[in-house]
């Protein structure tokens, strides 16, 4: 499926075709006999913010997990920042350093403090000094507004705080792209906002973001493009205005009817 619209939100066009950060071409994936991704084509431009939605089992999480190869695709090509993912570890390492990921279940390291969670990868992967890693970690913890929790363990924090730490931990690697895999789905309702606010802050700073989420308010206010997936295919993609007011496909309409009904 060709890219129908260039992101032009707020009159700003952050994307030029030379500025492709992620390119997926004909990506297919099977779990045994079941095909989870059917011929996915997707280009993500620098500074672009994309929300992916769709019913459960539609392949949306699998799609973003293929970008940093937590899941391996079997056919097609994926490249990130011009590096094509192949069988070699070198490419995978290069890609993972540049791609941050935030998970539904936070996945903070429970045996390390908040600060240590944020310092581990910069020190062990990028080889930064301890002092530098610490300064960076504190800067990002301030940015997600929990510097005072730095010496606590993840288990002592609320879900919303843990997710903000997880975002800070990813940012400490200075990624070019951030992937969000249902970042608010495991949170109590009163904590959803603090995480979404953090993500909106990131968006305002120009981070390239791919978010799998059902937070349609977030999609409306932040996304350049909304992608609707169903049964392993990209069914429809459009600007949020068009997507929510004039969905083209019947499947999109029925999905939106279900999630916006109440």
């Amino acid at each position: 499926m060709a890219l129908a619209t260039e992101p032009t939100r707020n009159g700003v066009a952050p994307a030029m075709s030379a500025d492709v950060v992620i390119r997926m071409e004909g990506v297919q994936k099977w779990y045994d006999q079941f095909q989870v991704l059917k011929d996915i084509d997707l280009e993500v431009h620098r500074g672009e913010r994309i929300v992916i939605c769709g019913p459960s089992g539609s392949g949306k999480s699998t799609l973003i997990r293929c970008i940093n190869q937590l899941e391996r695709h079997q056919k097609g090509r994926i490249s990130v920042n011009g590096v094509e993912l192949g069988p070699h570890h070198r490419q995978l390492d290069m890609v993972r350093r540049e791609v941050g990921m935030v998970f539904q279940s936070f996945n903070l390291f429970p045996h390390l403090t908040v600060l240590e969670n944020c310092m581990l990868a910069p020190m062990k992967v990028r080889g930064t000094t301890k002092a530098e890693a610490k300064a960076t970690a504190i800067r990002y913890l301030e940015r997600v507004r929990i510097p005072e929790q730095a010496d606590k363990y993840p288990g002592q924090l609320s879900g919303g705080q843990q997710q903000r730490v997880a975002i800070a931990r990813s940012l400490c690697m200075n990624p070019k792209v951030m992937l969000f895999d249902e970042p608010t789905s495991a949170l109590d309702p009163e904590m959803v906002k603090e995480v979404l606010d953090t993500m909106i802050g990131l968006a305002e700073d120009g981070m390239t973001m791919l978010c799998v989420t059902h937070e349609m308010g977030f999609a409306k206010s932040v996304a350049h493009r909304v992608i609707f997936m169903d049964r392993g295919e990209i069914v429809e993609q459009n600007t949020p205005e068009e997507f929510f007011t004039a969905p083209k496909s019947e499947r999109t309409r029925s999905f939106l009817g279900q999630i916006l009904a109440h």
């Binding site: 993972r96 998970f103 996945n107 581990l120």
Partner: protein, 217 residues
């Protein structure tokens, strides 16, 4: 000529405890080092490593320890190595312990949630760093109680080394009994000494388990 069981005989038994302990420590350390690699191989993404380590574990878990000691001791002779009972016992017990510890630790490694692997990988950590800084520290917490508990099995297992002629506590008991012909008394004391070695470890294992079972997340 029959001797009475007296103080000297008791001291002889006690002094044999040091060999039991030394053999246990060697088996435990050697088994721990080999066992770590067995556990890593068992949880590896590389299929041949998993097959080999699974086979290794099944062979050692599926045959009696005594047969394993015989095979090491007599096997060495067959291939022309003159192996002392000491070395044979140490090698046999190390191999056996590594198989059991490897399987215990496999479970501990796999008990670390998948999300931890994914988070560490997505941050760019490769296997060695991922294991060392993220997975193993969490697995160790789970592993401590059953590992201390297994140490009891290792200590009791060393008694089989008596049969290939290595003089440790059990063999010392046989020697004393041959001189005194008071088997119930002699082996009763030997058993009591084993109990005195093992019981504190069992208690420790239970206490550690209770402590680590307390919620920490």
């Amino acid at each position: 000529m029959i001797r009475a069981f007296g103080y000297n005989e008791f001291l002889f038994l006690l002094s044999a405890v040091q060999w039991t302990l030394l053999l246990s420590v060697i088996a435990f350390l050697g088994g721990g080092i080999v066992g770590l690699f067995v556990a890593l191989a068992r949880t590896s993404d590389v299929k041949p490593l998993r097959w080999v380590s699974t086979g290794y574990i099944q062979i050692f878990q599926g045959t009696p320890l005594l047969m394993q000691l015989f095979l090491v001791f007599f096997g060495a002779t067959v291939i022309g190595i003159d192996m002392s009972p000491w070395v044979a016992a140490a090698v046999g017990l190390t191999l056996n312990t590594s198989a059991f510890l490897g399987e215990i630790w496999r479970g501990c490694i796999q008990s670390v949630p998948r999300g931890q692997w994914e988070a560490a990988s997505s941050l760019g950590l490769r296997y060695p760093g991922l294991m060392r800084y993220v997975i193993l520290p969490q697995a160790v917490k789970v592993a401590v109680p059953p590992t201390v508990g297994y140490l009891v099995q290792v200590i009791k297992g060393t008694s089989l080394a008596a049969i290939i002629g290595f003089v440790e506590l059990t063999r010392a008991g046989q020697i004393v009994n041959n001189a005194t012909f008071q088997p119930f008394l002699v082996f009763g004391i030997v058993a009591a000494i084993y109990f005195a070695l093992c019981w504190p470890l069992s208690l420790l294992s239970q206490r550690l388990e209770a402590r680590y079972a307390a919620p920490s997340r």
